[in-house]
Symmetry: C2
Subunit: 155 residues, 2 copies
DNA sequence: CGGAAAGTTCAGTCAATAGTGAACGTTCAA
DNA sequence: TTGAACGTTCACTATTGACTGAACTTTCCG
């Protein structure tokens, strides 16, 4: 199957690019996620650089992104002074949370648009009302979905 | 509030760029969606071009995209030979369907990755299993969500 | 038919985004 | 302290993707 180290692994690329795109990440972040998901041990930044044939700067930005997104954790192994990066067991919760956050932003947008729709003809107001309703619906359901998934994972 | 015609309306832009980004559309598609959502009447392509200060080519591509995504319909008014474009009443169903389709693609990816994981150590296999489980869960729930939303809209 | 307007396609341009690498901080073992 | 490796930042370069505009195809009215 995929070997995490060694360059231009088409499977890492394919896998990584797809995931990255779905999450709205740059390609390098997708590939890094794929490598970490498939790595047996936590990896250092130099190792990631090597495995992905990337620059320091790019890896720095990429690891930061993955950590912020909650899919990867960074820690120091006791006694070592360099950080290692590891795919989180609860990575998918982070992804779902991220989707929920994004949707909530659109809900806010829809709310503010609807709030200003007073002067518009009924047809247009109805459209904004529908958009608002849609996002209310969606956010509620995503919240439930996240809660259920957490519970599902907890057992 | 927003006036659909006239250039560089910051509200159309803001609104449109947000929606576009959320949907993974190019900026022009977002702005076009915003204009159509707020337009009183269906609009022709020349009108859209004018309203958005865009080229023919760009509008052609954009309208195609919106129609394919199920947010806009294109039809000819009886007796007229040019097409008009109109925001669909069921536009949000199209968006949700699109999200579901994308997620289903990732499910497929997860499936095929897991299917090839036989040789990997348990830890990695567990990660792929989890990814797969996650997408199974997500797709099921999104399907339910879509069905419920349709029902909610139908009444 | 003929031609005028609508609509599409596509090569080329321009803008946005991703990635590089060098300079700059930080940390820690000696 | 000091210096060696780690990690971050940022100005620059390369790549990707969006948009334009001209050439082309289609539609339909006279």
């Amino acid at each position: 199957m995929f070997s995490p180290v060694g360059d231009a692994n088409p499977l890492i690329d394919d896998f990584g690019l797809h995931i990255g795109r779905a999450m709205g990440w740059p390609p390098m972040a997708g590939r890094t996620a794929a490598v970490l998901m498939l790595s047996e041990t936590p990896m250092t930044m130099p190792e990631l650089q090597e495995a992905l044939d990337a620059s320091k700067g790019s890896m720095s930005e990429t690891t930061r992104l993955l950590v912020v997104n909650g899919t990867v954790r960074r820690f120091k192994e006791p006694g070592s002074r360099q950080y290692v990066y590891e795919w989180r067991d609860d990575a998918w919760i982070g992804c779902l949370q991220h989707q929920l956050d994004q949707t909530t932003e659109l809900l806010t947008l829809a709310e503010s648009a609807q709030a200003r729709s007073a002067g518009l003809p009924e047809r247009q107001r109805a459209r904004l009302r529908e958009m608002h309703e849609y996002y209310v619906f969606l956010v509620r359901r995503l919240e439930a979905l996240l809660a259920d998934y957490k519970e599902f994972r907890a057992r």
